[in-house]
């Protein structure tokens, strides 16, 4: 049995760890709140963006041809099929957040296997960057530290790079794998197509919006407006993906650290019980020794 001193030391160690996990949990909770606020703050923009695109849909849908809308494998398309797919892998910059990063990595590997070597990874966040570089997966590149200071500019820069690569015919499609924030307790790994933009995504249900559609003046033309709007749509999608992932990461870390704190608490309880038992056993032994010594003298 471990000596009393050893036990005391272990209890102290576990208590220190518990303090750290507790602090991390609280930090994550605070950051989560901020991340959630950021998501909520994008809602009005998202709503308005959708509204305007849907208005345009009714009038311009048939005439609009935009590189970001057109799939590459159309007949007579001279850009047809590079056969490659870009996968945007969104992980966190840090660990200690449960299975958050592992889930995304596993899903990415599955999808990459399904693409039969036609996939290339653009890793966002240190974790995914390290993981896939280490594995020697086909990479387009990696961005580290994106979540340290996440801003719309990051999304703009990414969107510009990706859209250009797509329009130049480097890739047939662009997908994103990321953790979707569902609630504090649950995140879902989501596999989403960013490009080509699905017509129904931007343009909504044509027949439905055509009914309520009014006569607008367009400046410049409907098609030109839509063309300016689509790149923004992509940027906004990427921004949303990053925000979701950020919130999900903090939520995952909060949950992970919460259970770590609880586990530490349980361990402390067990150890304390063990400690008290051995202490008592020692006292009892000493008492028996004293009593039996006294008895021997009397006898």
């Amino acid at each position: 049995m471990a000596s009393l001193i050893d036990l005391r030391r272990r209890i102290r160690t576990v208590k220190n760890t518990q303090q750290i996990t507790k602090a991390m949990k609280m930090v994550a909770a605070a950051k989560l709140r901020r991340a959630q606020d950021q998501i909520l703050a994008t809602r009005p923009y998202a709503l308005e963006l959708r509204k305007v695109t849907e208005h345009l849909a009714a009038v311009a849908a048939g005439e609009v041809e935009h590189p970001l809308l057109t799939p590459h494998e159309g007949e007579g398309d001279d850009r047809a099929g590079s056969g490659k797919t870009l996968v945007l892998v969104v992980t966190g910059d840090k660990g200690l957040c449960g299975a958050f990063n592992a889930h995304v990595q596993r899903r990415t590997e599955q999808e990459m296997a399904a693409l039969n070597g036609g996939g290339e990874i653009l890793a966002l966040g240190n974790r995914g960057a390290d993981f896939f570089t280490h594995r020697g997966a086909p990479m387009r590149g990696a961005r580290r530290g994106v979540f340290k200071d996440l801003s719309y500019a990051t999304a703009q820069e990414l969107a510009a790079e990706i859209s250009k690569a797509y329009a130049d015919g480097e890739y047939d499609a662009v997908y994103a794998v990321y953790n979707e924030f569902i609630s504090v307790l649950s995140q879902r790994v989501s596999w989403e197509r960013l490009l080509p933009i699905a017509r129904e995504d931007v343009l909504g249900d044509e027949s439905a919006s055509a009914n309520g559609h009014r006569d607008y003046l367009y400046e410049p033309s409907e098609a030109e407006i839509l063309n300016e709007l689509l790149p923004r749509f992509v940027t906004f999608q990427i921004y949303r993906v990053l925000l979701e992932s950020q919130a999900a990461e903090h939520a995952a870390r909060m949950t992970a650290m919460d259970s770590a704190t609880k586990n530490a608490g349980e361990l402390i309880d067990t150890l304390t019980l063990q400690y008290n038992r051995s202490r008592q056993a020692e006292i009892t032994t000493e008492l028996i020794e004293v009593v039996s010594g006294a008895n021997a003298l009397e006898g």
């Binding site: 950021q38 703050a41 994008t42 009005p44 923009y45 308005e48 963006l49 509204k51 305007v52 208005h55 345009l56 719309y152 703009q156 510009a160 009014r214 006569d215 607008y216 003046l217 367009y218 400046e219 410049p220 030109e224 407006i225 300016e228 709007l229 923004r232 906004f236 921004y239």
Partner: protein
Amino acid sequence: MAGLNLILVTHAEKLLEIECSDVGLPGRKGDMGILPGHAALISTLRPGELSYQPVDGGARRFVAVAPGFCEVADDTVTVLAETAEPAEDIDAAAATTERDELAAEYARASFEEQAGLKDRVDTAQARVDVASRA
């Protein structure tokens, strides 16, 4: 008198929702003045100066907007901009420095790069212009 309802939204927040008597917008093809009763309109905006006259009096107010869109319908002007800053929030000196730096970068850039920089230069210029109105 019936006013115009101006709603200014950026990706990060709803910046304004206010009743005004008229709104000036930097349209892609030229400035537009919107008065109550304007026909329904959808337009793209260039980086520039948005101005409005609050209906409850006071001075005309100015906001620097980066490119975006606007929708006018039923006396409601909805503006979506990538960034928007009211004149009084802009640090004029910093804006001028930024504009000068970008302008220098623009002058050095190749023709292809200039296309990418154009909006940023215009945005910086708009911030300087608007700052001077505060």
